[in-house]
């Protein structure tokens, strides 16, 4: 089963992202992290196939998390989607230049998130 890590400090937003992903039509294991620190602790425990993260969080921000993931040999290849209320081009550019694979502005259209996740999750049939 493919595994997704959702990092978001708002419980409502977190469960919304998770329930959107559940509509993918493929079995997914979704782990929810309420903070960047929690995400740092969860990363070594399991091999994730996709990370979805917010930017504005209390301990470390989403950009810092992206930087960590993309600078770490073990996690570098995990596709990463930023979901943030920051709609300025600067934030999008920053996120993408740090190595995020996609950037979604809140409030988002669930179909957009589903499409992004479909595009980014390695296809299980190909053994990816």
């Amino acid at each position: 089963m493919q595994s997704v890590l959702v990092v978001e400090d708002s419980a409502t937003m977190r469960s919304l992202i998770a329930s959107t992903l559940e509509q993918m039509g493929v079995p997914l294991k979704i782990t929810e992290a309420p903070s960047g620190f929690e995400a740092l602790r969860l990363l070594p425990r399991e091999s994730y196939d996709l990370i979805v993260t917010d930017i504005n969080m209390p301990d470390i921000n989403g950009l810092e998390l992206v930087s960590f993931v993309k600078s770490n040999e073990a996690y570098r290849s995990i596709p990463l989607i930023i979901v943030s209320t920051e709609s300025s081009d600067r934030d999008r550019e920053k996120g993408l230049s740090l190595g995020a694979d996609a950037y979604l502005v809140k409030p988002f259209d669930p179909d957009d998130l589903l499409q992004m996740a479909r595009d980014l999750l390695p296809s299980p049939q190909q053994g990816g």
């Binding site: 070594p44 921000n61 930087s67 740090l98």
Partner: protein, 693 residues
Amino acid sequence: MAVRRKRTRARSKAHSEFVSESEEILEQMREDLSQLADQRASRADPDPELVNRLFRSAHSLKGLSGLFGFDAMSELAHHLEDVLDRLRMGRVTLDSKAVGLLDESVTLFAAMLEKVGDETAQDEAAETITSLIARIDEWTLEPSRDSGQLEELDIDRAMLRALTEYEEHRLRENMRRKLSIYVVEVNFEILSFEEGLAEVSNAIREVGEVLSTLPSPGETPESQIRFSLLTATEQDIEGLAAHLELPPSSVHTVWRPAAGGETRRSEPEAPEVEEKSVPRPAADFSDARGEIESLKSISDTVRVDIRKLDELMNLVGELVIHRAAIASIADRLSADPATIRIGSELDKVHKSLERKIQGLQTSVLEVRMVPLRQVFEKLARVVRRLRRDRDKEIRLEISGAETELDKLIVEGLVDPLMHVVRNAFDHAIEGRAERAAGGKPAEGCIRLEATQRGNDVVIAVSDDGRGIDAKALHERAIEQGIVSSEMELSSREILDLVFAPGLSTRDEVTETSGRGVGMDVVRANIGGMGGFVDVDSEPGRGTTITITLPITLAIIQSLIVSVADQRFAIPLNSVRETLLVDPGEIQRSEGWEMLNLRGEALPLKRLREEFSLGEAPRDSKQYAVVVRVGDARLGLLVERLEGQQDTVIKAIQGPAKNVRGIAGATEFGDQGAVLVLDVSAVVEDAMRGRKAG
């Protein structure tokens, strides 16, 4: 007391999730705003972290209300965020007008939140919002003071890229104040970094500001993590390293002010003039609020006095009793060949009546159902307060708050649940040092989870604390004479001792855990509502208390049994199975009667003896009704099984009122009173008797 019932349940569920999270955010904002006002009153610079937290809160409100399509609220939050953004970016100073606008926005948002789902109210409030937003817009916007090239800094590009706009602003601001900028690098074990990191960050805050915390792979990436803390301080590099008790090699200089530069605290550009003519925001708003509240409700919700529902429930209860009487008359008529035809006609009418009463009963019960949310929110508030008072880092996670239960049960649940949560907070979750030693995150977690299973609701309270010390518990119970030392107890039975009256494994009693109210009272309260409490615990990993409750108290399904012509109703949710027992199968062991049930010994209890109904002939056949409470099973020996029945429990008046083991009485029309068994108490007494040996 009044309950409220909504037809659009799916929509209201999503709404109430939104409402509860928003309320939490608003509460935090009110606290932060009052601190901010205090700082302003004492002429101190506003704490950047406080302003930033307020900004993040407004930001979350904007995101949440936008997500649920509450455009007006989202717009309001957006402007609130804007005010806070200008403040945190240092583009404006915090004057009384800013404080007023912030207060007003938060109050208005809270008022609109109360009216979520009431579109008329929302439309009416739009005007108030528009005028507030216009005033926010009027509020002068000074041009940004941000300038200075960050490109000249000797800093890792990745670190620069990972700065949010606000962090960049703080960096520029500190450079403008001619403070030195350093990167402090520290390595931690990945499983326990939080404590160490908090220590370093706090130490930096004593002499400066942490601008950003960037994690990167540590020396051994699988097990370690490195943090680079971008730091602004007046200290020189050696001073900082010494203050942090770190080798100088872990501090790198990023930027230093030009020689001769004078370090200074930021000062407001001009002395602030108190604006006396500003109307008091609260008074200003109270009018608007009155306006919102006076709107006529044209929603599909009615408020009903709970007593009227009790009356209605009683009437339904009477109908159930009469229906049962009709059923028994129909049976008697059908049994006699002379009246068999009229009997079967009555039976047909009875069947149809039964369906109608069933429908009525379901509707009335449904109206009485309220979600657990209110109780859960109350607990969340208590945990937040305890967290502040006790300085213990514990979060409460909640799920299943939308699960519904009879209002009376929800009310009866408050105290036991509060006690369980407080126990977890006070005793179960370890202090920081003990958690760090156990490789646990500094922040403890209490989970509150409700789920519906058939006609029961299961509420689990779990913590990630130290778990119950079974050995100490067992010793304590022996010491206090609750169990005998010779008795072999399974690990389950030992854990179950936490519910023994008067037992505690801690000597000190804190205010929070409540004197005298132990887990025994929790079990008794829950048992009184026809529920069970179980405990499960793993040393070092945590404890889970599981409360199982019937969805409603008013009418329950019971198994009717009789002994010595006295009939008892046994709530069906505690009955596992019934067996016909031949007297020869009953074995005696240690003064106990046992039955071999598929290879396991089932302790037996004669209901006749339990209620002193005299000796029964020992050689006649009996039935064993296997009941369970938690993991404890007991076979109740009865003489006849009379079938299942809807049972309306009524309180007993008179001398039999407080008989242990009896939860109440019910009647079946023609045939007098039937006693309803308190299974939880009967099983508990039996088990205790066995343990005491």
